[in-house]
Symmetry: none
Subunit: 359 residues, 2 copies
DNA sequence: CCCAGGCTTGAATCCCGAT
DNA sequence: CATCGGGATTCAAGCCTGG
């Protein structure tokens, strides 16, 4: 059987993969189940319920079962890849370590791990952990030192304001009109990926006309972006509903002219510098004293970047407002530290930290 | 043998770990060998040679050998951890996936993976990949649903300008004066971590006085920051040179006072004030009426601190939940009393009582 | 038509001490 | 160890509604 290009194969991922010919695709992009292992319901502070990913396809009996599944589909993907091909897999801390080990053990050669920093992640509602604000992608060639993989270095550099593209990408979640809805207006797929992410992946690691295989096609983000960028795709999807939506979606895509392929700009976030960073950088130490411009009011710095005056504590802004009985206060310009040249605003420390951050 | 606190144990990591007592440390921070599999020398565009990590301690024969080593030291660390303890491990894509799987397989429970975004990474000189601009840390508790790990949520939030701290941390590499040099002015250790990174780790996940074990102590960044923040450490280091440098470095650190170590505390830790106390203090009287924020629902206060609405009575929380048909409710913020300035939440009365409690 | 303010939502391993 | 119940907990975007 030849390779069924620009087609969605409906059915089990493994069985479908086994029917594809050896060395026939240029790139694999895979967004497998994450095996989340969630507990009970999670309520927001306003008591609304978080719409959890509790679909049957994300349930595995054990790590062993997940590993076996992972190795099986990865092995087939490797067989189907051309010798100069490469693979991308996306995941979270729940599964990505297991995926990474399988990738290495099967003989792939990791080129980068990429961090997708979400500009608008869901917060940690209960205050129990750090906000889980990123996902991880692994990019690997078929083998170490084999035939050369594709990397469009200059296109990536161009897309990043002429600086080398880094391993951390800041992109928003898939929301708004881009997010596919079902008949009732609810999201059609629980984990639809943003097209911007696929845009960067495909632009970085394929050439026009290349064939991209996505064994967990879902609602077809890979196919839609591939088509828009003048690449071909092969999708595998078990759920008929998702496949139908994907077909409709891809049919609406107009392939871009060479012209239009230029850049989706990378939103560069303001380098906000929290006051706590000043302490981490060692520019101030816990216990140091800050003064108001005239040196009258004094406050003590704590290790977490809060200030203390008498009984009250809070951020540099809050405490600054408080000691002045003002409605608000810019702590960066109000508070001063003692330097060898007398009192200086802590804003100069922020400037020092900023000068070490990427633009 | 007891736990040798604020000490560097010179010797093999595994042998030393085996001598430490069960359930004796609060936190493990580990920066193990990354098992970098470098090819030949790497040259910069100007033909200067990149100073690679090619130390013998970073060489392993195979993935299997690295896995066996990883599991061995992780297993000992888990034994040595208290039941409410936690572990941090830092690595790059070369090893972090293998570490992560070992962590999961040994029964640790991953809490977050944290991305350290380097603000000043080494560029990719060959233009063959994305600039490798981050490393990954895994934070895991000793077991799933075991005794509660330490997370100073409020301190982290304060250190991040009152926004939840996210899983991506932007920090510069260890350079300048902080970077230890050997006699000839070359860097003393190839992978010295920045103190800012340890500052955040330790502030987030330990309490003052806690003991932090670092089985790959190197030049003692963990020890130096632990000492500065009023924590204790146990370091294990095989290379006598590194250990000597670490000792000298740590001796120069001035520990923070208890005062200086204090950070923003959590509300959960504040003393409980039963609602009845508000009545006992005369701040409200039996028969007074409380209102929901918009003034629509009203409830009558009884002498024992219960509320009555129509036929039902109960705690401020229960009745609050009931009148809203909500699964839960914080009565302190939901119910309001009539003051001369309009409706005010009864939480201000609790604050009044708390401020009069003995320290 | 625009703007301000409110509502909704996103791959989430999401409370904790007292009894 | 399970249960009970007090009461703590959210950020950025996009969409909608009302003025």
């Amino acid at each position: 059987m030849g390779l069924p290009v620009d087609t969605i194969i409906e059915g089990d991922c493994l069985e479908a993969l086994k029917k594809l010919p050896d060395r026939s695709v240029d790139l694999v992009f895979a967004d497998p189940p994450y095996n989340l292992q969630l507990g009970g319901d999670l309520l927001r502070p306003d008591n609304s319920k978080v719409d959890a990913v509790d679909d049957h396809w994300d349930q595995f009996e054990s790590f062993e079962a997940y590993d076996a599944f992972t190795r099986a589909w990865l092995k087939e993907c490797r067989r189907v890849l051309k010798d100069d091909g490469a693979i991308w897999v996306i995941g979270s801390y729940h599964n990505i370590f297991r995926v990474g080990v399988a990738v290495q053990d099967l003989g792939f050669w990791i080129l980068n791990d990429i961090v997708w920093r979400k500009s608008n992640p869901m917060p940690n509602f209960k205050g129990t952990r750090f906000t889980n604000a990123h996902e991880t992608l692994i990019w690997a060639s078929k083998s170490r030192g084999g035939r050369r993989y594709t990397f469009n270095y200059d296109a990536m550099k161009m897309a990043n304001d002429e600086l080398q593209m880094r391993s951390d990408w800041t992109l928003p979640l898939c929301t708004g009109d881009e997010r596919l809805k079902d008949g009732s207006g609810a999201k059609a797929h629980p984990t639809q990926k943003p097209e911007a992410l696929l845009h960067r992946v495909i632009l970085a690691s394929t050439k026009p006309g290349d064939v991209i295989l996505d064994p967990f096609f879902g609602t077809g983000t890979t196919g839609a972006v591939a088509r828009r960028l003048g690449r071909k795709f092969v999708g595998i999807e078990r759920e008929a509903e998702y496949a139908a939506l994907a077909r409709k979606r891809i049919a609406q895509v107009t392939p871009a002219t060479a012209d239009e392929m230029a850049v989706t700009g990378s939103k560069r976030a303001e380098p906000r510098v929290p006051f706590g960073t000043i302490l981490e950088a060692g520019l101030l130490r816990p216990g140091d004293v800050l003064y108001c411009p005239k040196g009258r009011n004094a406050a003590r710095v704590r290790a977490d970047g809060s200030l203390v005056v008498g009984e009250v504590s809070g951020s540099i802004h809050k405490v600054g407002a408080l000691v002045q009985s003002a409605p608000a206060c810019n702590g960066w310009t109000y508070w001063h530290f003692k330097s060898d040249k007398g009192l200086a605003p802590i804003d100069v420390l922020r400037a020092k930290v900023r000068s070490q951050l990427p633009a």
